[in-house]
Amino acid sequence: MSTQKQLQVSAIENGTVIDHIPAGSLFAVISILGLDKIPNQITFGANLESGKLGKKAIIKVADKFFENDEINKISLVAPHAKLNIIRNYEVAEKKDVEVPDEIIGIVKCFNPKCITNNETVVTRFRVEDKKNIALKCRYCEKITTRQEILMING
């Protein structure tokens, strides 16, 4: 790599680096992407110094290239995450995450009286507000806001 700074997390030859994850969202990102269930080599750093975020986290997944649909799921917990696609130790491509139109199966509805919290139902939300995050439940039609988001543990 061209940078002279010392790397806080060692480099990978091929794969994806997910940078600028808020420090508190590291394990949520790991869970949403199912990184705890894949055989790839994964290195991550938590509570690293960051000019932008104060404390940030970074994840490097070797030999893994995410589909946009898959990676956009993390936008709920890491809206400013940056993706670096690494090929042969070089950054081949940079990507931002985008909030998708629909969120399926990763977020709990905040409404305790919703059918999805009382029976085994895959949750589905339409994203009504991408900037501030407002998720409208397909079933009970209530809005779950950013502060109310709870992840379903995969």
């Binding site: 009286k113 059918i115 009382n118 139902v121 439940c137 079933y139 039609e141």
Partner: protein, 301 residues
Amino acid sequence: MKNRSLVSINDYSKEEILRLLDVAAEFEENTVQPVLTDKVIASLFFEPSTRTRLSFETAINRLGARVIGFSDSSSSSTTKGETLKDTVIMVSNYADLIVMRHPLEGSARYASEQSSVPIVNAGDGANQHPTQTLLDLYSIKKTQGTLENLNIFMVGDLKYGRTVHSLLMAMTHFNPTFYFIAPDELRMPKEYRQLLEKMNIPYYEKTEMDNLNEADILYMTRVQKERFSDLMEYERVKNAYILQNSMLNNTRNNLRILHPLPRVNEIHTDVDANPKAYYFTQAENGVYVRMAIIAMILGIK
């Protein structure tokens, strides 16, 4: 509408609502139309609701169909721990249409995804109760001759009242002016006020129930004690939202008073004899509207 579930009032377009109200008027004209003698309709009431259930079952009987089901989850397999999904899949193998009332919000949408036959939502917790909204619209159209350009006064619990929210949504098709009369703690939620602003529909908010002389429709709801976080506040306002006959003196001749029922004390009994009181006829209209809904979903009308 044929073969489609009715879960939320938003599932129907303006044109579909108007067509349904026309068919309901036909049924009122001639209630003996046994057009569904070969049909079996399931009436699944996971929580008791005598008024809604009797209205549906009357509609089903007047259409000549047979009704199966239960009126309380204690007499269903739910007590054995059966999931809603399994109950709905099983019943949809027996019946041509399912009418369902359930205490959990979103249960009707979920049931409609599992069922092989259409679901008519007869209330899913505090969420939706579209057949109530349709009978409210029918009552407004019948008494006013139109749904367009009316002054709709809504009184009482505008925060939690699902009937006022659904009626508000449905009326946005018809260029209304709204007057919301509620205590501060129970005012119309921001999401609905913002929606009206976005659609350029005028509305006024008041805490006092005075000056009703502009109203075409006065939609009363119950102010429930358990909705208040501050009981002192409840004691202070509880009598402010009770309609007395004397308050109707200078009101319009075409004014009609609606209420989803059951009433407790928010409409004084001295109003009942006033020709502007319409709530009991409103409930009767529910039968014709439900006949129309069932007949149209089963493709008869």
